[in-house]
Point group: C2
Chain length 136, copies 2
């Protein structure tokens, strides 16, 4: 696992106090985090700063965003070497019971045959159901 400093350096994003704590928090979580989640975890950091930090991270492909249908956009750290290209896509799983969102890096991704002249640029794939913790 890369450190916060390494990631910021590789992605050419300047290291600041807010960026460090936000990225550290994201790395420490197994599930994707919403702005609200992060805000609650980092009580000394302003919401708008976190918001802009997330935008910066997303632009620089440090994190990717997931719309899981909870109404809040979730963010998760990209895998090493990810460029957020179609080839880097992976499924997400949203638990209807505990409302957590997971990145399913290990589930193989189907090559989708789009109709004539449609061109894929990104995708947002969310499977919903019960996670292993809640499916009991």
């Amino acid at each position: 696992m890369q450190t916060v400093d390494e990631i910021l350096k590789i992605k050419n994003v300047k290291n600041t106090a807010v960026r460090t704590v936000v990225l550290r928090h994201l790395l420490s979580q197994e599930k994707a985090q919403s702005l609200k989640d992060i805000e609650n975890a980092l009580i000394y950091t302003d919401r708008s700063s976190i918001f802009r930090t997330l935008k910066t991270f997303e632009e620089n492909k440090i994190i990717h965003s997931i719309e899981d249908g909870s109404g809040m956009i979730k963010y998760a750290v990209c895998a090493e070497g990810c460029n957020c290209d179609p080839k880097d896509l992976h499924y997400h799983f949203y638990c209807n019971n505990c409302n957590k969102t997971f990145c399913l890096f290990d589930v193989p991704f189907q090559n989708i045959e789009l109709p004539e002249n449609f061109k894929i640029q990104q995708a947002n794939m969310v499977v919903k159901g019960l996670c292993n913790n809640c499916n009991k």
Copy 2:
């Protein structure tokens, strides 16, 4: 193509003025509609009435909702015989240029191998890119 009256009857939803115009509008569109889209199209019908109509339609599986990442939930009429089960899932395509959302009924749907103990209930699959009109 089923008529508005037929659909409402089959799904056991009472026919009202608002329901008729909303469903007729949805059927007349090739792309999924947001609440705002419908509101703009049906200028004499109140937003909250459309909103509640859409909820009613969704509960009764007349339409399904799509979170395409535009920030607005889109709605599209279900295919005939759809029960909104996992087996009825289909991909959606969101055009980054014209912001339209399409149902890709003809693109085969992969059977997703979830990790141990994860259970699928629904899914929201959105491929983003350029549609045939914008990819020129």
